[in-house]
């Protein structure tokens, strides 16, 4: 299981949980599992998010691997200038 840290604004979609444990080996699997566990997150993830995996920020590379002990954060989508 991977512990995914959400931002607190998402608690109202997860029944108050700010950390959600999911079974996942890639970023794509994390996102899929989050929506399965909490369908309220679907529009959030569809709108675009970034995922931090052990300090690296993944936005497009959904095949990025995740270890069971990885530190994973769901973040808002990044933009650059």
């Amino acid at each position: 299981m991977v512990a995914v840290n959400l931002w607190s604004g998402l608690r109202r979609f997860t029944g108050g949980a700010e950390v959600v444990e999911v079974e996942a080996a890639t970023v794509a699997e994390v996102l899929k599992a989050l929506v399965e566990a909490h369908p309220g997150l679907d529009p959030v993830i569809k709108a675009g998010v970034s995922v931090a995996v052990d300090g690296e920020i993944v936005q497009r590379a959904l095949n990025h691997p995740i270890q069971p002990d990885s530190e994973v954060f769901l973040l808002q989508q990044f933009r650059g200038g």
Binding site: N5, W7, S8, G9, R12, F13, G40, P43, V44, A47, A52, V53, D54, G55, E56, I57, V58, Q59, R60, A61, H64, E71, F73, L75, Q76, Q77, F78, R79, G80, G81
Partner: protein
Amino acid sequence: MALDNKSEFKYIGTRPNRPDGLDKVTGRARYGADAYAPGMLHGAVLRSPHAHAKILNIDASKALAMEGVKAIVTRNDFAKGLEGDDWDLLENTIAGEKTLYDGHAVAGIAATSVLVAKDALKLIEVEYEVIPHVTDVDAAMADGAPVIREGAADHSVPEGLHPNVVRYTEFGRGDLDAGFAAADMVVDRSFKTEAVHQGYIEPHACLADLGADGRGELWCCTQGHWFVRRMCSALLGLETTQLRVTASEIGGGFGGKTTVFIDPIALALSRKAGKPVKLVMSRSEVLKASGPTASASMDVKMGMTKDGKLTAATASFRMQGGAFPGAPMDMTTMLAFSCYALDNVHHEGFDVMTNRPKQAAYRAPGAPMGAFAVESVMDELCEGLGLDPIETRLKNAVKEGTKSAFGPRYKAIGLIETLEAARDHPHYSAPLAENTGRGVASGYWMNWGGETSVSLAIGEDGAVQVGVGTPDIGGSRASMALMAAEAIGIPYENVRVNVLDTAALGTNEPSHGSRATYASGLATIEAAREAIGKLCQRAADKWGIDAEAVEWKDGAAYPSGPNAGDFEPLSIADIAGEMGSTGGPITGHHDASPTGFGGSFGTHIVDVHVDPDTGRSTVKRYTVIQDAGKAIHPSYVEGQFQGGAAQGIGWALNEEYVYGEDGRLQNDVFLDYRIPVASDLPMIDTVIVEVPNPGHPYGVRGVGETGITPPLPAVANAISHATGHRMTRLPMSPPRVLRAIQGKGIS
């Protein structure tokens, strides 16, 4: 992608002439407006004179009847049924039922000359019904404010907020009450910043040629032509790969050329007229109707112990990004406290719509506003507790392994190194003249990887051509050539770098997010390594040994050790000269969406003199210290530092969007939109700190954006010290500073 841990570089870190230098000093370089096509028409755009109005009717019959007018387009000439971001983009490109801001495009025209097109614009009759408008962020959130668009708010917005609040975020951790209770001093302040413009000197320009069969070409100045291709295809209902987009030389972007404004209009005109159409914005159109940055209204509260340890921090950011969702409040919130280790921290952000143009990215989008507020409070805490601002920052600075305020732990980073370099810099201890204050501030930009594709090919003469997809805004072709030269071991002069068009390479994200040197550089190195593998194979074939027994060094293949056999080395030119007969062309290619982009911290020191009688501020001395990871071409790294500082100084002192009561932009020319001129600035000293980024073979961090983050608070802190009054509002224009000096408050 791991760090090579290479300590010796032959080409990286040198300062050769850039490959496009000659073109740019002789006038040969071709920018957006420098393209001409046979039979070309000229376009012009009719724009709304109202901040907010219903379009009741558009009658273009008189204009169309004018001699030389070949096509007129309105919203009806674009794709139907778009949703989400594409709908926003189309609505911003050309108004639908309502005009949403002063300068919003209403119709486009193509004619045989610019003068005819402009004359014809005056004959288009538009019937408007003017409705109430709002341009200020706080006013737009207040009860009774005109609603820009009902139903624009997304899932993130809690109940009870004004419909103009379209996105909301909130995150944090720890126990704020306990944190503030543990503080010896708490500062709670409100801040406000005005919208500013990227101010690139080249207005948007394009040349479009789109056939009735849906196949077309577009030449334009952009930071990312694949973005342009995707956006234009969506707005015109084209198949993406039917549109070939070529990025011209680009005359500055700073984030403002990562989207489209006129390109879809030029394509629609071309499709309708059956001829190429050139469309160039005027400066006034650029200021009114391209994508300035957001303005912000902010509250920041921070607590500190008397020995300088931060105990808790909260912030609320209200940001308007024009008549569409997209103000960068997410980046502002994530990065506001990025410099400090905090156990108790909370952030809140509001994305608010107003009757202003749709904001676009501007260098570290969202970060400078947050840094202004947070670093000002940090300075006030240090001042109030009698602490040194650099030592105090060092005491709280994040380092490798620290949990960031936004969650993840940092990898190897260089904030402490920049602070130590600032503390030890002679500027920090130099005496100050009368009425002069010194300000210090730090800042961060996390950078970006993004989709990247690079192709590399060996020429018959052994020279190397590199094709990248990231437009060169500030010397990146030189950086790519240096990295390719280093990877292959051939002279810099033997590498040619070209920015390829969308038909020639896989998808590339724009040159934004400080990603070009990082991501295209990484892909260039990997593509070079792939080509080296092939070169070694050719040598191995020739020698009749295994490729594993061939070693590549200094641009040549060698047998690796005595066991491999005794062969004369084969240079890249030797192998290339025979490549046609030894298996064909030799190329390397790399596609990636790299994630290890690291991030770059900077610390700035500035001395500002304030005329006590007029409130006029003069920057007397400026020093930028920033972590580059590894400076590929130090001159252009310094250039990024200096340019970022200059833009930040402009934002701090005199740049602002001024809207009148009528909701119209009052300062739509460079005369009144006051960017710094040469005589406004001192030399800008730079110190390049190098803490290698573990996510790049040579340790590169993007350096483009961080430099605009510290200047706002650094200048504000300096003026606060020079005047004895805390400056909480930008720009710190003379009337505002004079009022503060006279004790009349900050208006």
